[in-house]
Symmetry: C2
DNA sequence: ACTTTACTCAACCAATTAGTTGACTATAAT
DNA sequence: ATTATAGTCAACTAATTGGTTGAGTAAAGT
């Protein structure tokens, strides 16, 4: 694993360690959105959301395109894939718990 | 998604955002190890490694058992699975086209 | 009994993070 | 031409992070 790959994983996991940013990722999975669109649901300043978006952009998770006075954001999958690939190496530690957890989550969902 | 599940994801991704901690996870995937074992490869104090281990332990990724004067550490899979589950929701963004098509066809076949 | 080993704990430091506000720029609408 | 919208930028704050050192404790080896 190269230094750059390490730095990419650092950035990806770090970007995803914040709930606001994960919510932004979830929102962008439904399609492109502007910064203002993304900021609306959050009880924080536009500047704060802009900073979160910058973290996601720096980590390569989000692509920001300037279009007139709006910034249009798209989700980029490559870094997520790298994170999943890393986690998959330790699959044997969690795969056998699949059924138990699935039942647990299904139960919580129904509550 | 509950507040606790959010906090767990925060903790898991945050714990994994540091290369030293990922290396510890990788080492523990090969089997149980003591704190001193884990600290050996790193160019930092035992205290520093102890702190990293505490972060992993707080996030539930590692189980620490006191045995005499040594601490024995084991990898726990559940939080990793939760992280993978979260990331999997955005699978369509990172899976390569070939795999995505294969999956799509497999799904159609089974229907 | 003494020493070494395997740690923990507290205090400190520098850098980073997540948020704020106020001032600014650029674009679009009226 | 004026005004409203979308966003940036700089400065500030409080909390957290990743590291250090030095002192202390508890268990094991000699």
């Amino acid at each position: 694993m190269t230094v750059q790959q390490m730095a990419q994983l650092d950035a990806t996991f770090s970007a995803l360690s914040d709930g606001t940013r994960r919510a932004i990722v979830a929102r962008l999975a439904d399609g492109e959105a502007t910064l203002s669109d993304l900021a609306t649901p959050f009880d924080m300043s536009l500047t704060a959301v802009s900073k979160h978006l910058r973290v996601l952009s720096d980590a390569g998770l989000v692509d920001i395109e300037k279009r007139g006075r709006t910034r249009h954001c798209r989700l980029r999958g490559a870094p997520i894939k790298e994170a999943v690939d890393w986690l998959s190496k330790y699959e044997s530690f969690w795969i056998d718990r699949f059924d138990a957890l699935a039942r647990h989550l299904a139960k919580e969902d129904s509550e």
